[in-house]
């Protein structure tokens, strides 16, 4: 569904991505793990078109989309749950999602009020992520956990084919972590998921396959069991966390 070939990205002399080749199948649930500075966020920024790669290729459903701009990739079905929520803070939760739902129809409808069907779809999504009845609360007035749930709803609003989840449980309490992990696990199986996450319990619950990123390269890839058994991985990453 989404793949990269020898993807490179340099900042000055620093190689954030030093040739990343990944292939995530349709409907697959892939986790990308690695220490801070491994290039995970840079990889996501390239996959969403927010950064152009220095070299290499990004393919989406077989099409070469390298260098496409973010809105073009979004229209082709790529969505992202940002690590730091990207919401419309003063707007009610409902409108946050509705702007996403309305994106497919486009903004050039200047004279009529948005159709009720858009608000209805937004309410349904809010319910889906556990925010039923919170639609009229401004995004900025929600709790941290609720804001993460809203961020997920906004990311889903355009009915993406590929969802990139950037540390979905960052800053959450154990209870909140459980709730959002359940939510993500219950998403439609046809949706391709790529999740960057530090919490290894969450990774092992969500992922079918894991890629380990280290210094801008994939140093290991396999099922959770295989990655757990990999000595190199244990040295550079898991050793510190799981021990």
């Amino acid at each position: 569904m989404i793949e990269t070939r020898e993807l490179r990205r340099e900042f000055g002399g620093i190689k954030a991505l030093a040739g990343v080749t990944l292939k995530v199948a349709e409907g697959e649930r892939r986790a990308i793990i690695g220490p801070n500075g491994a290039g995970k966020t840079t990889l996501f920024n390239v996959l969403t078109g927010e950064l152009e790669p220095t070299a290499g290729e990004v393919r989406l459903a077989g099409e070469d989309v390298t260098g496409r701009r973010p809105h073009e990739l979004a229209r082709r079905g790529v969505a992202r749950m940002y690590q730091r929520n990207e919401l419309f803070d003063p707007l009610p939760a409902r409108d946050n999602v509705a702007i996403g739902v309305a994106a497919a129809a486009g903004p050039y409808r200047p004279f009529r009020a948005p159709p009720a069907s858009e608000l209805l779809a937004a309410e349904e999504l809010l319910e889906r992520v556990g925010l039923a009845g919170r639609g009229s609360v401004p995004a900025r007035a929600l709790s941290h956990g609720e804001r993460r749930q809203l961020e997920l709803a906004v990311a889903l609003a355009r009915r993406p084919r590929v969802l990139l989840l950037d540390e979905p449980t960052a800053g959450m309490s154990p209870a909140e972590t459980n709730r959002i992990t359940d939510l993500i696990a219950s998403l439609d199986r046809s949706l391709t998921l790529v999740v960057v996450e530090h919490d290894m319990d969450v990774v092992f619950r969500l992922a079918e396959r894991i890629s380990v990123l280290h210094e801008g390269r994939v140093i290991a890839e396999g099922t959770p069991a295989e990655v757990r058994g990999d000595t190199l991985v244990n040295e550079v990453y898991l050793g510190k966390v799981v021990a």
Partner: protein, 306 residues
Amino acid sequence: MPKSEQGAVRRALSRFALPAAALAVAALLVTFPIWSTPWESSRYATGILRDMLILAILALSLDLLVGSAGMPSLGHAAYFGAGAYAAAIAGQRLGNDDLLLGLGAAILVSALLALVIGTVAVRAAGIFFLMLTLAFAQMVFAIAFQAADITGGSNGLVVFLLVLLLAWRLRSSAYGRALVGLRENERRMRALGYDTTRLKLSAFVVAGAIAGVGGALQAYSIRFVSPNDVGVARSVEAFVSVLIGGVSTLLGPVVGAVVVLFIERVMPSYIAFSETVLGLVFIVFVLAARRGIVGLVRESYARVRA
């Protein structure tokens, strides 16, 4: 009163408060010739009211950029001036002083100018956007020339009400909501598939076209167009109107235009240093009341209801 009934009354109030206020203002404006007779002698008051309407149109169009989309343009008079010149020249060359013809010419020319300038300007953000719009407006100012007496009458009030209606529709439409999305989080808008550069450009062009309408009215009612209509002072006047009246409040720019011209044109007959007063009022609003007069009124109204 039972709670549910109270809620219904509140809903009815909030639903009809705005249209009622708009109607009241419109009624006041329409009956202006009657209640203004005490000072009619010099026709000075009529002139001031007309200028208020014109500045209000310019401010309304600017608020679409500043308020809704979060794009602080400091060169908005360029489109106003372009509209004024277009209307004037079209009327002169075609020997026809039909207001509709002037408005058409103004909208077309202003929109085109905004399209050209906007194509460059919307690629910048924040202070750079502000400086770019100012720089372009200064270029337009530099090439503006004196166009002598243009004849024609106008029905400014009708045009003003149409612009107000348009601004209200835009705000509550999917388009207006997308502009607010742009102001609040451009990155999220892009990630949702909105072409934000194009969206900004569209807002720039629409705002430019509406400013052109104001310019056409100016050309028709004053029968004289000068480079000052394109100048930075005019841009600042519009900007101050938006800020004092209330950013992104629909009626704010109208209220602001009335206040600004009242201070600039009426007060000097009564007190000295009215320019200083305008400056002070401006500073007070920037520091203490970011949502302007209309924002203040709405906040106190909400507090009374609560």
